[in-house]
C-alpha cells in the first residue's frame, strides 16, 4: 500500500511506457518518444543540480558531448568495447566536474553561470578543433552498441532499453531526494548559512551533486551517440545547454516529474510546430514566454498547486 502511494506516478509512468507501443504507428513516433526519454533523463540530472541544489549550469551540454565523443572515439580509433568507452566517458566527465567544481562553486549567481558557460564552450571548441580524432565540425560515425552479442539497433529495441533506464532514473532520483543527501541539498538551496550552521558540508554536497549530474549527462551523451549512430559538435554546444535548462525551468524546478513534462513538451513542440512554415521559432518563443509569465514556477508545480491543492514534495 505504502509503495503504491509513494510511487503512484512512477507506476502510471511504467504503465504508459508498457502500453505506448500499441499506439505508436511507426518508427518516427518511436524516435520522438526515445528522444523524449533521453532528454527527460538528462533534464532530471540537471534538475537535481539547478532545482534542488539551486546551482545553475549553462554548460551541461559539454558533459553530454564528452560522453558522446568518448563513445564515438574510443571504439573507432582505439578499438575499445562501447560499454567500456561509455564508462570511460562518464568517468572523464565526472573527473572534470569534480576538479572544476571546487573553484567554480566559490562563485555565485551570474558568475557561476559564466563559469559553467565557459566550461561548456571550451569543451565544444576542443571537439571542433581536434579534427584528427573527432572529425571536426562535420562530425563522425559511431559504432552500434552491442551487449554480449546482442546488438541494440533500431527504434524498437532502443525504446525498451530507454524505458527501463527512464523508470530506474526516476525511481533513483525520487529516493535520492527523500534521503538525507536530498534533504541536505534542499537545505542549502534554501539558505547556505543556515544549512552550514546545521552541520551540512555545503561544498561537499555541491560538488557531489555537480559530479552526479555530469555523470548522468555523459551517460546520456553516449546513449544519444549510439542511438543516432553519428555525432557532431552540436551536441556539446551552447544552444543544447540552453535547451536543457529551458526544459528544467518550463517543467518546473525542483520537480522530478516536471523534468519529464519539460522534456516531453520541448521535444514534441518543434515537431508539432514544423508545419508553421518559418513561423515555428516565433510560435515556440511565444509559448515559452507565456509559460514563464503565467507559470513562473514551471508547469508541474503550478498545476499541482492549482489542482492538487497541495504541493507534494518531489512529485
Amino acid at each position: 500500500m505504502s509503495i503504491l502511494r509513494r510511487h503512484h506516478v512512477l507506476i502510471i509512468l511504467a504503465a504508459v511506457l508498457l502500453l505506448l507501443p500499441l499506439v505508436l504507428p511507426n518508427n518516427y513516433y518511436y524516435d520522438i518518444v526515445i528522444r523524449m526519454a533521453i532528454n527527460a533523463i538528462l533534464v532530471l540530472g540537471l534538475n537535481l543540480l539547478i532545482g534542488f541544489a539551486g546551482q545553475i549550469s549553462l554548460g551541461h551540454a559539454g558533459f553530454v558531448g564528452i560522453g558522446a565523443y568518448a563513445s564515438a572515439i574510443l571504439p573507432t580509433h582505439f578499438g575499445w568495447h562501447p560499454l567500456l568507452a561509455m564508462a570511460a566517458g562518464a568517468t572523464i566527465a565526472s573527473a572534470i566536474a569534480a576538479i572544476v567544481a571546487r573553484p567554480i562553486f566559490r562563485l555565485k549567481g551570474h558568475y557561476l553561470a559564466m563559469a559553467t558557460l565557459g566550461l561548456g564552450i571550451i569543451t565544444a571548441i576542443v571537439i571542433k578543433n581536434e579534427a584528427a580524432y573527432t572529425g571536426g565540425p562535420d562530425g563522425m560515425p559511431v559504432v552500434a552498441l552491442a551487449l554480449m552479442g546482442f546488438e541494440i539497433s533500431g527504434e524498437k529495441k532502443w525504446y525498451w532499453v530507454l524505458a527501463v533506464v527512464l523508470l530506474f532514473s526516476f525511481w533513483a532520483a525520487r529516493n535520492l531526494i527523500d534521503s538525507p543527501f536530498g534533504r541536505a541539498l534542499r537545505a542549502l538551496h534554501g539558505s547556505e548559512v543556515a544549512s552550514q550552521v546545521m552541520g551540512v558540508d555545503v561544498v561537499r554536497y555541491k560538488v557531489a551533486i555537480f559530479v552526479l549530474s555530469a555523470f548522468f549527462a555523459s551517460l546520456m551523451g553516449s546513449v544519444t551517440a549510439h542511438y543516432i549512430g553519428f555525432v557532431t559538435p552540436n551536441i556539446a554546444d551552447f544552444f543544447h545547454s540552453i535547451e536543457l535548462v529551458t526544459m528544467v525551468v518550463i517543467g518546473g524546478m525542483a520537480s522530478i516529474y516536471g523534468s519529464l513534462i519539460g522534456a516531453i513538451l520541448l521535444t514534441a513542440l518543434p515537431q508539432a510546430l514544423s508545419t508553421f512554415e518559418g513561423w515555428e521559432t516565433v510560435v515556440f518563443g511565444a509559448i515559452l514566454m507565456f509559460c514563464m509569465i503565467f507559470m513562473p514556477r514551471g508547469l508541474v508545480p503550478t498545476l499541482a498547486q492549482r489542482f492538487g491543492g497541495r504541493e507534494s514534495e518531489g512529485d
Binding site: 504507428p25 511507426n26 518508427n27 518516427y28 513516433y29 524516435d31 520522438i32 528522444r35 571542433k128 578543433n129 579534427a131 571536426g136 565540425p137 562535420d138 562530425g139 560515425p141 527504434e155 544519444t224 543516432i228 549512430g229 553519428f230 555525432v231 557532431t232 552540436n234 551536441i235 544552444f239 518543434p270 515537431q271 514544423s274 518559418g278 515555428e280 521559432t281
Partner: protein, 383 residues
C-alpha cells in the same frame, strides 16, 4: 475507311480521357527535404529552401511531372545533425516521401545516410564533403563540388605557374577544416609541398599573425586560403597590410560581389576556382552552361530580389536531377528512380556537366570549375 479512323479517334479520345483522369486523381509526388534553414548553417539552407519552393511551384504550374503534381515536404534541422536524423525518419516513415533532396551540411547528411540506405530511398545530398559519396553508397548522391576538386584545381594552376612550395591557411569552420584535410592529402600526390600550415577562426578580425608566420616560412612561393564568408576577405586585407607579394589563392565559394567589395583594392590579383553560376555574365555565348545559369539567376533574382549563391544552385541541380530521373524511370518506383539517377548522363546544371556512374555518385569533374582572377575590381577568367 472512315469507320476505321472514327474508331481510331474514339480510342485515342478514350485513352486521352483516361490518362488525364488518372492524372487528376493521382497523388502528388512527394519530395522530402531536411535543410538547415536557421542556425549557423542558414547561409546554406535558406537559398536551398527558397530554390526548392520556387521550382516546385514552377514545375507544378507547367503541369508537374508524369502528370502528377510535386509536393515539397521540408523540415529545418537548424544545423543540428541529430535533428536531421529525426526528421529523416519522419520523411521516410510518416510522410512516406518518394525521394529526399537535402541535407545542407555534411554532418546532417551523414546522420541521414544510414536511414536512407536501410529504407532504400533515393537521396540527393546538397553537402560538400567527399565522404558522402566515397565510398559509394547505393542510394546516396550529391550535387555540390567537393573540396578536393577545388584544391586540385588550385594546385593544377599553381603547378602551371611553377609554384610548388605552398602555405595553407584554413578556417576552423566545417568548410575550412574539411578543405584542409583534403588539401593536405592531395598536396603530396600532386607534388606540392606545404611549407606552412595555419588556421584562423571564422570570427577572427585580423589574420596578420598567421600571415606573418607564413611570410617567414622558408621558400614559400604561394598562399592558399580555405575559408568561407568574410574571413577570406579579411585575409586579403591583412595580406596587403603586410605588403606580401606572393600569389594568393582562395577556395571555391567565396566568389561573390560581396567578396570583392569587402576586400577593396586588396582583392587585386587574387585567384580562385568558381562554378559557372557565379560568373554567368562572363561565360562564352556558346557555353552549354550559359542558358542554365543565366536562367536560374534571373528566375531566382526576380522572385527573391537577392543574388544567387552556389548553394541555391546545388538545390536546383538536385531537384532537376530528381525530376529527370522520375521522367526517365517513368514512375516513382524507388529502385527505378535510383537507377535513373545513377544513369544521369550529361545533365547540364549550375554546378557543371554531370555524368554519374555506379562508381561516381557526384558526376562532376575538373571542367566544373573555372579559374578566376580579380582584375580592376572585377572577375576575369584566368588564362
Amino acid at each position: 475507311m472512315v469507320k476505321h479512323s472514327l474508331l481510331k479517334i474514339a480510342t485515342t479520345a478514350a485513352v486521352a480521357v483516361g490518362v488525364s483522369l488518372s492524372a487528376f486523381a493521382a497523388d502528388p509526388i512527394k519530395i522530402g527535404s531536411v535543410l538547415s534553414v536557421t542556425g549557423g548553417a542558414a547561409f546554406l539552407g535558406d537559398p536551398e529552401l527558397k530554390t526548392l519552393q520556387l521550382y516546385v511551384e514552377k514545375i507544378n504550374k507547367e503541369g508537374g511531372v508524369l502528370g502528377r503534381q510535386l509536393q515539397l515536404v521540408h523540415y529545418d534541422d537548424a544545423g543540428d545533425a541529430s535533428k536531421a536524423n529525426g526528421f529523416a525518419k519522419r520523411l521516410i516513415d510518416d510522410d512516406k516521401v518518394d525521394i529526399i533532396v537535402g541535407g545542407s551540411t555534411t554532418g546532417s547528411t551523414m546522420s541521414m545516410v544510414p536511414l536512407v540506405e536501410k529504407a532504400e530511398i533515393p537521396f540527393i545530398s546538397l553537402a560538400g564533403a567527399v565522404v558522402i559519396v566515397e565510398p559509394v553508397k547505393k542510394w546516396v548522391f550529391k550535387t555540390p563540388h567537393t573540396d578536393r576538386m577545388a584544391a586540385e584545381k588550385v594546385f593544377t594552376d599553381m603547378k602551371a605557374r611553377n609554384l610548388t612550395k605552398v602555405a595553407l591557411l584554413a578556417e576552423t569552420s566545417g568548410f575550412g577544416m574539411s578543405g584542409k584535410k583534403e588539401t593536405e592529402a592531395l598536396a603530396g600526390k600532386m607534388g606540392i609541398t606545404l611549407v606552412a600550415n595555419e588556421t584562423y577562426g571564422p570570427k577572427d578580425t585580423d589574420m596578420t599573425p598567421q600571415l606573418t608566420k607564413i611570410k617567414g616560412a622558408a621558400g614559400v612561393q604561394a598562399i592558399f586560403v580555405f575559408g568561407f564568408g568574410q574571413g577570406p576577405a579579411l585575409v586579403n586585407k591583412s595580406y596587403k597590410q603586410l605588403g606580401l607579394s606572393l600569389p594568393l589563392y582562395h577556395a571555391h565559394g567565396v566568389a561573390s560581389e560581396e567578396f570583392i567589395k569587402l576586400s577593396g583594392p586588396a582583392a587585386e590579383g587574387v585567384r580562385l576556382p568558381a562554378a559557372a553560376l557565379l560568373v554567368a555574365g562572363k561565360l562564352a555565348a556558346n557555353d552549354p552552361q550559359k542558358p542554365v545559369v543565366t536562367g536560374y539567376r534571373k528566375t531566382y533574382g526576380d522572385r527573391y530580389k537577392e543574388d544567387v549563391s552556389t548553394f541555391g544552385g546545388h538545390a536546383y541541380d538536385g531537384l532537376m536531377m530528381a525530376v529527370e530521373a522520375f521522367k526517365r524511370a517513368g514512375s516513382t518506383d524507388k529502385a527505378k528512380v535510383r537507377d535513373a539517377i545513377e544513369a544521369t548522363k550529361g545533365y547540364i546544371g549550375t554546378g557543371g556537366k554531370v555524368t554519374m556512374s555506379p562508381t561516381d555518385h557526384m558526376g562532376l569533374d575538373q571542367s566544373a570549375f573555372i579559374m578566376l582572377e580579380i582584375k580592376n575590381g572585377d572577375w576575369t577568367i584566368a588564362k
